[in-house]
Symmetry: C2
Subunit: 320 residues, 2 copies
Amino acid sequence: MNILITGGAGFIGSHLCDYLLADAQNSVTIVDNLSLGRLENIEHLLDNSHFNFVELDIVKNVNLLNEVFQQGVFDVVFHLAANSDIAQSHANPSIDLNNTFLTTFHVLEQMRIHGVKQLVFASTSAIYGDTPEKLHENYGPLLPVSHYGAGKLASEAFISSFAENYGIQSWIIRFPNVVGERTTHGILFDFFRKVKANTGYLEVLGNGEQNKPYVYVKDLVEAILFVWQNTNDKLNYFNVGVDSQTKVSNIAKIVLEEMGEQREIKYTGGSRGWVGDVPFFSYSLDKIHALGWKAKNTSDNAVRIAVRENLRLFNRLLHK
Amino acid sequence: MNILITGGAGFIGSHLCDYLLADAQNSVTIVDNLSLGRLENIEHLLDNSHFNFVELDIVKNVNLLNEVFQQGVFDVVFHLAANSDIAQSHANPSIDLNNTFLTTFHVLEQMRIHGVKQLVFASTSAIYGDTPEKLHENYGPLLPVSHYGAGKLASEAFISSFAENYGIQSWIIRFPNVVGERTTHGILFDFFRKVKANTGYLEVLGNGEQNKPYVYVKDLVEAILFVWQNTNDKLNYFNVGVDSQTKVSNIAKIVLEEMGEQREIKYTGGSRGWVGDVPFFSYSLDKIHALGWKAKNTSDNAVRIAVRENLRLFNRLLHK
């Protein structure tokens, strides 16, 4: 198959790329503006004749995107390009307008123009907003509290109308927090930096009681491919994740253990880490479990593996 | 109050303007690009010292919009500017990207920048998509089939995140089909034109069985104001409409009766009038009824009044 991955040099996209290239029948083109993605994530693929990397910003360079579609004759697009630093757009909502939503619209337009018939989309639990209710796929109302969640919901909305209007078969996969090798920001990196700053204590935003499911990146990528290969509706939508959760206070403890450091943990207080944070959620995975997929790693396990993998990268970046 | 109405020269916006100016305490500014809005709808207001009209396109002229906000010091924005010709964006989805969604994003940004604290938003039953289920406000999944529905859902998504991030109190009012004085397009005008073309028969798109609620525009405007004045959550969302429905075949009959014409009615067949059409829906109004509002006119009644009012405009436009 001819496959396009947007955001393919990113954390999740580069893992997906590895999985898809393991099948010698596949050719994979990735586009990435390298704002959050990193060349290092794909440099082991640059010599692969089935692999093609185009550095481009989807929103700023629609003409080049059009050329990529013209040349690629893609069978399927995995659209992962998005802002993934949720907290930063509080000060500038245009970040999520452009990088989370308009990327999707432009990809959809190119698919319509070039007749590409399959789209797999990286969505998020953040579309559901902040609610104590169990989040199954048919939950409503959808009232996202972050611009990131809003940009993803806006993306889902147009994916739905493009699917209906032009017969683009689509798979919407809603991720919770994802952890593992190749991340460069987020809670684990924040903790690493704070420990290295060596203030004598580790400051944790909020009261430490935030409790969420963390899925290991390779489990997630397997789920994405599993859903894509095993469902065939015009529009398929699935929550993906783990049915366990990890408290922020526990993440802090795991980080200190794995770094071999001792610190007093100080909490800034309040139920949320930052505006737009969803401090708790309970995710229904009945739909994907019924399809026959379950994550190999629990949330705690995912966090511990991720801390080990991320620490290696953190230390390497530190000594650069 | 200082009030801004976007799309204020349009069908619904101009009626809203009349209602708000009936209170001498209010000053109303409207912005409209006059693409679907018409100067004729507001010309009776141009001498009113409490009324101010600025012709501008929200997406193309953000600088002028910024000036309007700078000078207006608004207490509340009623955001109605949108594409309202749903069928036309099948061939060009950018129409709803720009006119239905990006208008909303730019209005939200100006509200954030200028500290405006209240937003009333014209949303739509089209956000729910095409489903046989009864559409209550918490229905999910939200899978719109038209780009118009997608643009409105995308708007709701960012209204929700702006409400959370910047404390903009918001009212989302979801309209069904709206009919009455000052419309210039849609099913009634299509029928008028076809009858005047005098082909010996009246062609109706679909099988005539499409069955939807039609609300009279003045009932709708009263509902918008009622919800705004009687609810006070951070984010308030309501279906508004009538609990009766009118079949397309019945609309055709009412049109012929009111025009005093006889025609054979020919149906093109198929359950939908056009791609993105939602042929049936059943709307739950329990929430707004519980709040104490109910439409004065049934759906059939609304259609008949609208046919009479629209015919006057149609004939005038015909003889211009």
